[in-house]
């Protein structure tokens, strides 16, 4: 956790430094990107590049912690949009991970679980 905090502070300092260094001196301002435009249509989206860099660092840390090969992580992060990075960063634990355990533990076991649950809770109530 303290590693992550250090990382966040580091990224923050670096981002601010880059932003301060980069734009005025060269004057090569880019146009406003399509993704930024789309995000601006969402009222609560944070459009700052600093936040985007933090989200990216957070997702990188989580993927490493979850056993993803560090050598492949940049390629994965590069295909994600800022809003997807934000979703992954803020809801990583809540997002469903499709992985089907049926094939491994067997249909019978699942039926047993379901039958057990029938007696305990109302499983057919949809949420």
């Amino acid at each position: 956790m303290s590693d992550r905090s250090c990382r966040r502070i580091g990224v923050l300092i670096l981002s601010v430094a880059l932003i301060n260094m980069g734009t005025p001196a060269v004057g090569h301002a880019a146009v406003i990107g399509t993704q930024t435009y789309l995000e601006a249509t969402q009222r609560d989206a944070d459009l700052s590049t600093v936040t985007a860099a933090l989200d990216r660092a957070e997702v990188r840390d989580r993927l490493v912690a979850m056993g993803v090969d560090p050598a492949r992580i940049e390629a994965r992060l590069n295909t994600l949009t800022d809003s997807e990075l934000r979703d992954l960063s803020t809801q990583f634990e809540q997002l469903p991970a499709g992985g089907d355990i049926l094939a491994v533990i067997g249909v019978v076991f699942v039926i047993l679980i379901i039958l057990e649950l029938v007696g305990v809770i109302d499983i057919f109530k949809k949420t």
């Binding site: 301002a29 912690a65 993803v68 990583f92």
Partner: protein
Amino acid sequence: MCSQARWTSAATIVALVAAIQGCAGRGPVIEPHLDAAAPRQIELEATPFFPQREYQCGPAALATVLAASGVAVTPDDLTARVYIPERRGSLQPEMIAATRGYDRLAVVLGSSLDVVLREVSAGNPVLVLQNLGVASLPLWHYAVVVGFDSSSDALILRSGEDDRKRISAHRFASSWSLARNWAVVVVRPDTIPVTATPDAFVAAAAGLEAAHRSEAALTAYRVARDRWPGDVTALLGIGNISYAAHRLPEAEDAYRAVLAVAEHNAVARNNLAQVLLDKGEPDAALSEILRARADLSDSRLAPMLATTESDIRRALATPAPERPDKRAGNK
């Protein structure tokens, strides 16, 4: 007394069995979702099948829809892109993002079953997320819908180790709604899925642009513009990709096309000002950026407009002879 107790327990068993069978007897599920002219039974038999390895239905299902769209790919190629070992599964944002690396569009569909049936009828296998467990004990699973049969009220899936899984429409609808009706089709960038909304299609194109797949994104924006001529995002995307490729006249045309349909669009006007500046027309650029700032309703974008304005004012303060060759490399 005794017979009443027996009757009650018999009724309970019947009710329980009915419940476990997925509330049979509610009438057909598929038929009400079909138009009069739609086929009643279809199966996309040519859709490839990749049996999943343990837990890896994400890579297997994704390979199925990617391969169906013409990409030579196997689940093993995708494991490193979407599989998360400790979660023993794959997350939806990464499933979508992985398609971009192959210059494909992953378009998120609407949440009604008729959308899925229409896409399958049009030849597009549909990637879906299901919850095969219950709400409180989820078993998340990716599968691909490749067919349906209205007469037996069943869907046909590529699912797990099963190359042709028949599932009752009741059970499918229930497992799919427990996964918030998530459905995606994967298409070439020049193809608009039959049920895609302009917003969903253009958002998918913007995802390709964000992943630096510029040519594929440009193709998608252009077909979107041709189908939905007033779509602001498609036009803006064409402008931005053209600008990044230093094609200033095309970029200018695209930004002006946005302003023709949405004259108060401050983003397009900011970008137009930038193009004019790059073309060596700082006076025209200044009048555009001032108008953009007046039109801007979203304060989060104000710093970006301020940067453009200060660049323009700096150019205006620079002696004129220096201007022309400043951007010589751009055009």
